[in-house]
Amino acid sequence: MYGTPPADFSLKRRGGETLVLKEQVADVKASPKPSKNKRSIKRHFLHLFLLPALIFYVGFQVYPILTAFVNSFYSFKGMVRQDFIGLENFVRLFTEEPYNTIFTRAFWHNIIYFIGTVVAKLVLAFALALLINSKIKGREFFKAVFFMPKLLSVIVVGFLFSLILNPTNGALNSFLKMVGLAEWAHPWLGDPKTALYTIILVNSWYGIGFAILIFLAGLQAIPEEIYEAAKIDGSYGLKMLFQITIPMAMPSIMIMTILTFIGSFETFELVFAMQGSSGGPYYSTDVLALFFYRLAFGSVDGGDAIGLGSALAVVLFLIICTATAISLFFFKRKEIEQ
């Protein structure tokens, strides 16, 4: 039932692993129904190719995550794990000063960060995607230009904008003064009232290209015929936008909202680059990831840094997971209904 082995069979035999694969391939080609045993051997053999990636994934993703979970239930002395203390780290995080104040403040900043980014980035990105999708000249050019910031490192973007927004010699204030709007000049990053919103805008500038691409893909998936049918059915302009375009682009809108949520709760580099590890001025831009960084590595509380930090990481993980799961659940249900 097996086919003739390839002509160079005997040569390959010395080739160790190569030989096994060769034999399998020859078998599959030659006989329409290789035995179950042979097929499963082949399948298992193919699994081996996943191993290198799996090793890296487990070593650098799964293992640290699991360690963080375990560590959050232990007390620490420096880097050394001590006793199992149950939920005490979590209780301290939520009830003990200053952790609870910092946590609550940072949490709300993350929420503002998320809402602000949705408004500034997603709404504008959708509008721009609509424009680019409407057969304007040079659409490829605009697509590229809007996407360009994403090619820079976040740290570079943060540094660049720190320079631009410098209150005394930054480009923005200089420009405002030059055009006679000196009274609009402002220490954007230095004023606790504007600092967070300024960072949100910078982040939106940075990420808008990606959002535009996702929205464009969503818009381009809407068949032209649907618009034509709607036109005949008396749907025009804004009406069409709300009746047809937005509902049909919902999958891409949902995906971007979920990604923005995850991004907002993970945000670290940009704030760190622009405002330092304490989310200045006066913690006005402090977010959970910064708090975690200070807690775990910044020796805010030398004794239990790892335990408390792990607990915060776990909380952060749970917030993101829960919110994403809930939104995906509703999104999926909506999709199935359609």
Partner: protein, 365 residues
């Protein structure tokens, strides 16, 4: 109900590409007009110009006497059924049908009545709460029809509405659309590339090719008296057979084969001085029969040919062969004993033959 006048319509894309040329047609109230032709012949473009989805380069379209060239699609009082149904995936079946009425600010009660009525006609009552995704192809097509029906529009425009359905469903829906037309009597313009659909549904056919109208007429007229070689070859399945030869005195000579020409046709050919010239004849597959001793008559010519392929279709057999190197197909009865490779006699019914000019490919008459 409405009558439509399409007055010398032209459509040019990008200056150089002319999609539709001099389309001139008067559509009577209650007609079921079918635009038929191969893809790229301009039939869909013409329909879209009537719908207002495509600008008219020159010419005028009148619906009930009103020139609509510059009227928006929603104000033309037309309803359109698209090839891919173009249902709104985020709305239920009810929502899809009600959408046009809602936008026209109809009272809720009337919308409900109209949608329910259309759902009854189309058998969609059970499906009103479903989303299009949960429907089969045939059901989606019905919803698309329902969306047109509820509007009670003056004109129905249908752009290849059955081409996405499987063969069996297509035949069924074809009959349903025809019945719907008999019931509602709404003037309908239907675009298809399928000549069977065109033949079975139309009150009048408009055969198009390369943007030009080739022939306008009832299915019977177009089938029996094709204006040119293209129409003869396009309408009818299998297609009309064409032979090139020379017109002699009383015979049409294809190589060594001489086919008898009836006197009435001879008079016409003589009058137009075709004697001695090259011409084409067209003969439908059903006008070639098996020749038996005794069925020879004045208008039939028997020729001896070798059969290449025979296909039993159930009720009939298609026999493929060639005469002096020119291929043809004959539609014979299912009982025929003719088999591939055999040498057989076939009788050409020469009184049914059409003559075409070799150069212009137009029917000689």
């Amino acid at each position: 109900m409405a009558e439509l006048i399409l007055e010398h319509i032209y459509k040019e894309f990008d200056k150089n590409v002319t999609a539709v040329s001099d389309f001139h047609l008067h559509i009577e109230d209650e007609e079921f007009i079918v635009f038929v032709g191969p893809s790229g012949c301009g039939k869909s473009t013409t329909l879209r110009m009537i719908a207002g989805l495509e600008e008219i380069t020159s010419g005028s379209i009148y619906i009930n006497g009103t020139r609509v060239n510059d009227v928006a699609p929603k104000d033309r009082d037309i309803a359109m059924v698209f090839q891919n149904y173009a249902l709104y995936p985020h709305m239920t079946v009810y929502g899809n049908m009600a959408f046009g009425l809602k936008n026209r600010k109809f009272p809720k009660a009337e919308i409900h009545d109209r949608v329910m009525n259309a759902a009854r006609i189309l058998g969609l009552e059970e499906l009103l709460d479903r989303k299009p995704k949960a429907l089969s192809g045939g059901q989606r097509q019905r919803v698309a029809l329902g969306r047109a029906i509820v509007r009670d529009a003056q004109v129905f425009l249908m752009d290849e509405p059955l081409s996405n359905l499987d063969a069996k469903l297509r035949v069924q829906m074809r009959a349903e659309i025809a019945m719907l037309h008999q019931r509602l009597k709404t003037t309908t313009i239907y675009v298809t590339h399928d000549q069977t659909e065109a033949m079975t549904m139309a009150t009048r056919l408009v055969v198009m090719k390369d943007g030009f109208i080739q022939q306008i007429g009832s299915p019977k007229e177009v089938y029996e008296y094709p204006e040119n070689v293209f129409v003869g070859g396009f309408i009818g399945s299998p297609a009309m057979n064409f032979f090139t030869g020379v017109v002699g005195e009383g015979t049409f000579e294809i190589g060594d084969t001489k086919l008898f020409i009836p006197e009435s046709r001879m008079e016409m050919l003589r009058g137009l001085s075709y004697i001695g010239k090259e011409a084409m004849i067209g003969i439908r597959p059903e006008h070639i029969e098996e020749a038996f001793v005794g069925n020879e008559s004045g208008t039939k010519t028997n020729v001896s040919i070798q059969v290449d392929v025979s296909e039993l279709m159930g009720a009939e057999t298609m026999v493929y062969s060639s005469l002096e190197g020119q291929k043809f197909v004959a539609r014979l009865s299912a009982e025929t004993a003719i088999r591939p490779g055999k040498l057989v006699n076939l009788a050409f019914s020469m009184e049914k033959v059409h003559f075409f000019d070799k150069e212009t490919e137009m029917r000689i008459r």
